[in-house]
Symmetry: C2
Subunit: 129 residues, 2 copies
């Protein structure tokens, strides 16, 4: 069995604005999903997130920013629809540009870290730390 | 009461090498602590981490990299001491350089996001997402 070579790592970048105020890949992906599906529930669903959780994240974001990032109407059975506001589009764009810039700027050190990994690592060494 | 202005956010950058292989701020801080204290237990303690948890993270890192990052001897009551190997020093240095490069490269977009936050935000909008 040939082992796949290590692919470039995925970056998960979290901005911690305060002790309990942060913006990271989960919120960014949720905004992307709302933009693409027009629905908070649908955006959450495709991330494996409950309806309640997705709504809670949207409320968190809308409370943290001076202008809400998501405009929505709690609807009936079909849902009321949701979309990114101008502020939401701007915040998402800034975050994605930061991600790209970080990946570019760190490419050399990231590659060096990847080169240090054990070849053909297959064991489950799970740890979200 | 005057509200403090938003300070530059802290960045938490996590490299996801595979489905369950990642390197992020927790492991980096633990390596820093081991370097500074010469002890896995002491390094974990100052992060509010149990002895068992700190050891587990070290074992995870040593398994993920081709060469171990931490050399240690499980000792008696005083602990056996631990230090970063050359590989450990190199991995930590690469991660810290990546952090600095990312912060520099993303400074403009990060500042733009900070400027969009609600002024004087004091509520607890905790979410690690």
């Amino acid at each position: 069995m040939t082992e796949p070579p290590h692919t470039p790592p995925r970056l998960r970048l979290r901005l911690v604005f305060g002790p309990d105020i942060m913006f990271g890949p989960g919120k960014a992906d949720l905004l992307d999903g709302i933009r693409e599906t027009g629905s908070i529930a649908a955006a959450g669903r495709r991330m494996g997130m409950s309806y309640k959780r997705a709504w809670s994240l949207v409320e968190t974001m809308n409370a943290a920013f001076a202008k809400p990032l998501v405009a929505s109407a709690r609807g009936g059975s079909g849902g009321g629809g949701a979309q990114l506001t101008e502020a939401g589009q701007a915040a998402l764009a800034h975050y994605r540009r930061f991600e790209e810039a970080a990946a570019r700027a760190g490419a050399e050190d990231i590659a060096a870290l990847v080169a240090m990994l054990r070849p053909g690592l297959t064991m489950d060494i799970s740890d979200d730390t």
